[in-house]
Symmetry: C2
Subunit: 457 residues, 2 copies
Amino acid sequence: MTDNRMRLGTAFLATGEQMASWRYPGTPADGAVNLDHYVQMIRKSEEGKLDFAFIADGLYINEVTMPQYVSRFEPVTAISVLAAHSTRIGLVATVSATYSEPFTVARQFASLDVLSGGRAGWNLVTSALDGAALNHSRDGHPAHADRYERAAEHLSVVRGLWDSWESNAFIHNKETGVFFDPDKMHRLDHRGKHFSVQGPLNIGRTPQGHPVVFQAGSSEAGKELAAQGAEAVFTGMGGVSTIAESKRFYEDVKGRLAKYGRTRDELKILPGISPVIGSTAKEAQAKYERIAGLIDIETALRYLGRWFNHHDFTQYPLDEPFPELGDTGSENYKSVTDRIKRNAKEQGLTLRQAAIGNATPRGPLVGTPEHVADVLEQFFRAGAADGFILLGHVLPEGLNDFVDHVVPLLQARGLFRTEYEHATLRGNLGLPEPINRYAQAWTDSAASRPSYTTGKE
Amino acid sequence: MTDNRMRLGTAFLATGEQMASWRYPGTPADGAVNLDHYVQMIRKSEEGKLDFAFIADGLYINEVTMPQYVSRFEPVTAISVLAAHSTRIGLVATVSATYSEPFTVARQFASLDVLSGGRAGWNLVTSALDGAALNHSRDGHPAHADRYERAAEHLSVVRGLWDSWESNAFIHNKETGVFFDPDKMHRLDHRGKHFSVQGPLNIGRTPQGHPVVFQAGSSEAGKELAAQGAEAVFTGMGGVSTIAESKRFYEDVKGRLAKYGRTRDELKILPGISPVIGSTAKEAQAKYERIAGLIDIETALRYLGRWFNHHDFTQYPLDEPFPELGDTGSENYKSVTDRIKRNAKEQGLTLRQAAIGNATPRGPLVGTPEHVADVLEQFFRAGAADGFILLGHVLPEGLNDFVDHVVPLLQARGLFRTEYEHATLRGNLGLPEPINRYAQAWTDSAASRPSYTTGKE
């Protein structure tokens, strides 16, 4: 951690992280396409001084898609609308590097950065679902390693395009007719394995220099990509990882930064959390059970199968030890399936227990606000996290409870801000301002250079 | 025309249509990346009850790009932000069918349609500039005919994806756990020359059914695409076409509808206008000269060359007849270059006159508000237009003058609305509601069908 403060973001996961969350009382069933719901959540998040709100995505639906996601907002349009309903909070949208053009991604996030006054963030994903290829005119979905190779090149192109213009390139002199200084515009001329992009980008340098890049993969390739180019990483905790496990992941990723010439402060690691809060431990437990009870076992098995490439778990006995799967269906969400298998083995879980626990992970964050704040403080002080991303089993309740009851405790303990310190997401996250690769000391007179003009001089 | 009312839209062309508009007093030089400027313009447009605001685009910049466009908002993000700053006006953004995925385009506009309550429009372009290919990992920019072939297939895929869900597909029954009726979800399974897209789209049917599709090409291929699939067409008038010319274009395009099984009312033809308004004719003429005088002749020649694939016009004598060009550089903007050549010949223009007139077309719309209203009424009543799109040589002045002085006259004459009649852009434009290709009469009991559920039933 760079200072003594946590960074806290929140995921706008439609009706909530849990797959039956849409059935929860007070949760709008159509949350994923309900603008009022999103506006209320961004206002609540900003009231809580959270660093950012984040919109997840998927590029394919089928029978096993979580129902609240079969009809959902496209993240770039939704986050842009939310920019106008907020003033200080960061705005993070997911776009797949596998099914997008770097020029488009660079433009959209640069544009959002200008439109929001420096609050844009790109959550780079590689799209885990095979079916995404079927919606994007591809012969087949690329394998895990290929997707990450492409993503690394995609990101390097996007960053290159974000350097197209130096910050003082635009002169806007109405008298002389000089609009910009052409020496401060730079073509990228990238020619790589996956992309050829000339540039320059057709939007100037943005308030953040580069919008903040988020990433979530926690596979080997994912960790390497994060170390190479991301600035914040979402990672699984979800109430299931121990401090020791989280610290291992934290040190693993932070330890990879040096070889890319980066310091440990240049990447924030933010485990996901899904607290269930009650005024007493008993009340919180009852609430957890109410949430978990929204799902029946057949649905929980199908949801478990989603991570294992739609593997059919109904073929195994429910109350015997979790089945031996080998590498079955572990291609797409490898780090998740490894964790599920490891936990089942270590804790001796039956299939039923594993399925229910996977559908609504209980973990240590069920309890009073004090209890939740204690656990988060322990993780943070142990060096297992730079902060957290709130997922919320059910929304907006999970977010409202956290902002109303846990944030004030974290603030009182000096662990979280009471007011935004900076105008930009980058500033609030404590990330360094990126240096434009082309920027140089100002050596010769601007007046002596040729300038691009329109009209009389 | 379907009724006795004009349709009026406005183009948010950064600082204005004219290439030196950024130098005009009162115009923000950085208009293309100035959110306040856009917010003021959308509010003014809505005050004037205009049907829609439209954001143009370009995918490549070089030495001859109009300076106000070298740094510009990406249209989808900008129009999404403007959705939150408006309540009734239509929101039209440009996205190229040559450099986008139909799945992404269908999602973004469907999402915007939901977020804006039925106000989204897609301006389908094919990207005229060769250089766009260099920014999008393509070997070369496709030829004109290929781009239109691809565009037609792209549009048919997008429309197919917009039919993925019937309007009553979502049940959202928290008690029974039935989220949607799977019989009302439809896969497209498109396999064509340019695209293979399975579907379904991951967002339900939107308020407009289909967002409104705009198109601007007026070449042969452009007119055919418009007749086949667009619902509103921008066409050049810009003060240069006569009523007879506009009527010819109007009848030409309307006459092509029948062979696609469409009626004349299903496509609105909206010539572009750039009025210059003064309280007297003399004042208006002086204002026109002030605007035209912002550009010098070298710049005007370069701008002329932009339409002719960057042809160098400085090689010709300025005050002799417009040069014989044959087919030089007419590949990308064929209808524009044909018109420039034809006008120069018919009117016996010198190169200088053609260049200045091209940079700031004067036409018949320079005068008092009454005069401008008269000309628009003549075009409208003659059956040469269903309405107009306001371009504005300089912004926001051109828009403000039009809304403050011309709109009230059109309203007083019963030619334009005094209040929005409908909640949707489609409704206000008087376009029919699209019928979902899959929708059928309700014949069997919903209860007897299998339903996709989560949780206990």
